[in-house]
Symmetry: C2
Subunit: 320 residues, 2 copies
């Protein structure tokens, strides 16, 4: 029920994904509203789970948790807790998805702060950045936990065999950064898989697997990257004249912007898992279209097939 | 003498700028090395000031300051201190330029941390971001000082009459962010020109004049933005086939990428001033070409013509 184009785009994405999934898909929400978007005969692996309420996009998570015991979000979180679902995917209120998951599932022992892991593109197959926005106030020690979770992600979802971890910093040398980054560097340095500092431009230039930072920095980086890509797309569009008799000459521009779009389009990435909890919550962009939802569902299936949560639980205290 | 293409590109940029400047240009460095790049008869407003040593790009600022009393950087900083120059422009070791300026000129009374102000493009004429990298460890109070300096910049260099200040944050609402951002918000809120929080994507989408953040976040944002723009340019290049008999069909791509290049090219911006000191130091990108140096010199002249440093000194305690 959550997302700018919900439930239409969500249901559409689920219907596209259903035949590609090896498991059941539970659509949690108001049955009468969902019925408008569903075919009369449901695909064999889609089922509707009724939930009478919805958490609004701008609703305060704590209020929603207290007041709406039948919200689609809380019903979905409880399905995972009770073992009736393996994971939850949401394009709704991110803060609410984060805090409901945390409150109901709790952290994996050994993990103190959950983190959102987001896959970003670069010229070497991309990397995973965390925390992209879950835990704004953390200590340097928590970045070591993020690193272990990031390694589990890179193995389960990116096929990296022995993923290295970089610390996002404002210089490459060990002595660079603010007090927080210097302390994090010293802690990470004790790990065999630590690859040192990396700067904000080099994450897009160099090969890297996992990049860790606090949620404030990660969220600013993520959104600024998105903003620059959008601005460039807008400048490119503005440069194409609107008059039809000139416009056709610009047709070849499409040949170069189409592959670019595939590289930087958030919809290709699908979703970003919230890691560190006893359950898997995949957060989608609020403006997710059907394609984004489909890709998020496929990504979630890969995470489940590769037992991402179990692998974090198994390695959190032993990944040196 | 500093920069990846120094002194060739620096001298070339100075020669292009000289006829456009209403003041004298002092080239500080090794006379015999500079002579190779200079015409036999110098333009009337160019003069060489000899300096026997140079600070290397990777040299530790404190070491260089102690050991090299005749470095071109220290000679230039002293020329400003003694009133023989109005400002210094450098494409060399940024850390050294920052710390030499701080050590010799000291802060303007009322300012506790200097900040690098960098102008970034957006779809509404751009904005100035600070701190882009000068002071990694700051308190929330220092962001108020950055805001006042940013306003002086926006008036002197961007022609904004009553510039507003936004706080870079990970959400728009007042309650958003980490502890640092929340404290900064409360302090900034007391100012008439404070316009609230702004997110990393919205700085490139919405109209804004001045955006403040700490140097760690600012530097990550700046470099990530640069990295994304470079990556997109690379993807666009890669999409154009290299075979000549197909390549010509892609010619119109240039029509759209040329204006884009002008918008996002760092060389168009020229340089970024270090603000808050009793003197003006303009930092250029290490890889500055002649065009970047020319633009940095023209920007510096505008800053001097509009008395940027004096205006910061006059408003730091009264800009409410």
């Amino acid at each position: 029920m959550g997302g700018d184009h919900a439930p239409g785009a969500i249901v559409e994405g689920a219907l596209i994904a259903a035949p590609l999934l090896n498991r059941k898909l539970l659509l949690v929400g108001k049955p009468d509203v969902l019925a408008h978007h569903l075919p009369k005969t449901l695909p064999s692996n889609i089922e509707v789970v009724p939930a009478a309420e919805t958490v609004e996009m701008d609703e305060k998570p704590t209020d929603a948790y207290r007041k709406k015991k039948n919200s689609s979000l809380l019903v979905a979180v409880n399905l995972v807790k009770e073992g009736q679902a393996g994971a939850m995917v949401s394009a709704g209120n991110t803060g609410a998805a984060n805090s409901f998951s945390l409150l109901v599932w709790r952290q994996i022992p050994g993990i103190h702060r959950p983190a959102i892991a987001i896959r970003l593109p670069n010229r070497h197959g991309g990397f995973v950045l965390l925390d992209a926005g879950a835990s704004p106030d953390v200590d340097p020690e928590h970045l070591v936990e993020f690193a272990v979770m990031g390694r589990a992600y890179a193995k389960a979802l990116m096929g990296r065999k022995n993923p290295k971890v970089h610390l996002l910093n404002i210089g490459e040398e060990p002595s660079k950064g603010n007090a927080f980054a210097k302390q994090a560097f010293n802690l990470l340095q004790q790990k065999s898989w630590f690859a040192g500092n990396i700067e904000g431009n080099d994450i897009y230039r160099k090969h890297c697997d996992v990049v860790v930072c606090d949620a404030f920095v990660g969220n600013v980086l993520l959104k600024a990257s998105e903003g620059v890509a959008e601005m460039i797309a807008a400048f490119l569009r503005d440069a194409v004249p609107s008059k039809a008799h000139v416009r056709w000459m610009y047709y070849p521009v499409k040949w170069v912007t189409a592959p670019l779009k595939a590289q930087i389009d958030y919809a290709e990435r699908g979703g970003a898992p919230l890691l560190g909890l006893n359950g898997l919550c995949v957060i989608c962009h609020g403006r997710s279209n059907a394609k984004a939802i489909k890709n998020a569902l496929l990504m979630t299936q890969t995470a489940l097939d590769n037992e991402l949560v179990t692998s974090i639980r198994d390695t959190i205290n032993s990944d040196d």
